[in-house]
């Protein structure tokens, strides 16, 4: 159950970043980056099914746990290999690794609860339905024009 991003809805306000920071002692696990002056994207852990960070972790701090990649700060030595093993560059470390923990055990991650544009969701269907709707809309408009 990762956080799904609907990039078309993101307004780049960084409220998710602030909420995440508040939840994690000032160390955010999500970053909103601007894109060519036209869009903004929140980037965070994908909770990969085959999580490479968990594969390389020496101490067992990162583990695949059902549909999330969980992190046990008590086991982390801050060696930094997970940051080097994340294909998306979304883990960082100082004395400890920092990555999205989905605000576990809270029911809803604070970024999802906060996003004023509803660009973030833990429900894949919500995001995919919107994308399919857009695609259908586009093809209908195309069809009309071609008549």
């Amino acid at each position: 159950m990762p956080v799904y991003v609907d990039v078309l809805r993101c307004i780049g306000c960084k409220a998710c970043e602030v909420a995440c920071k508040r939840e994690h002692n000032g160390k955010p696990h999500i970053a909103v980056l601007p894109a060519e002056g036209r869009a903004a994207v929140p980037l965070l852990c994908h909770h990969c099914k085959d999580a490479t960070c968990a594969l390389v972790c020496y101490s067992g701090a990162l583990t695949t746990d059902g549909d999330r990649v969980s992190f046990d700060a008590a086991k982390c030595t801050g060696c930094g290999i997970c940051a080097l093993a994340c294909p998306f560059g979304v883990i960082w470390s100082d004395k400890l690794a920092h990555k999205c923990d989905l605000c576990y055990p809270a029911e809803l991650p604070s970024c999802v609860a906060t996003c004023p544009a509803q660009a973030l969701s833990t429900d894949y269907d919500v995001v995919s339905r919107r994308v399919r709707y857009k695609a259908a809309q586009a093809s209908v408009i195309e069809g009309k024009r071609s008549i």
Binding site: R38, A39, T52, V56, T77, C79, L84, P87, F88, G89
Partner: protein, 131 residues
């Protein structure tokens, strides 16, 4: 004092992170230098947490240091990782996972550039629809 089997050291941050008396320090530039100063503490946290099992307690010894050349990022050429750490990733991660969805091998690209690539990929639908 501690001693080291340098062939097992990864050049990671674990020992310098856990040392309570800051006797292990590190410095990054073209090279990563990790310095071990004499310590009289009765603790073995660095030994316990070393992922490579490179450290052990020894009755005596001098200050020592180890240095690693940092591998430059294939994209931005900034030195970013030690060879043993990248080797661990190449050995442990299945080959098909060492490439991203676009077939680009990411291991020798620095995390900052990987994030840039991810940003571009993720933003593409929005950027295109707003052209």
């Amino acid at each position: 004092m501690i001693s080291m089997d340098s062939s097992r050291c990864l050049g990671c941050f674990a020992c310098s992170n856990v040392c309570p008396s800051v006797k292990i320090t590190r410095e990054d530039g073209e090279q990563r230098v990790i310095r071990f100063s004499r310590c009289e503490e009765f603790c073995d946290l660095c030994v316990e947490f070393c992922p490579g099992e490179a450290l052990s307690i020894s009755p005596e010894g001098e200050d020592f240091q180890i240095s690693f050349e940092l591998i430059p990022c294939r994209a931005c050429h900034t030195p970013f990782a030690t060879r043993p750490m990248l080797r661990r990733i190449i050995e442990v991660v299945p080959e098909e996972l060492q490439k991203d969805s676009e077939g680009i091998s990411w291991v020798e690209i620095c995390p900052r550039c990987r994030r840039e690539m991810e940003r571009e990929r993720a933003a593409r639908p929005a950027v295109r629809s707003r052209m």
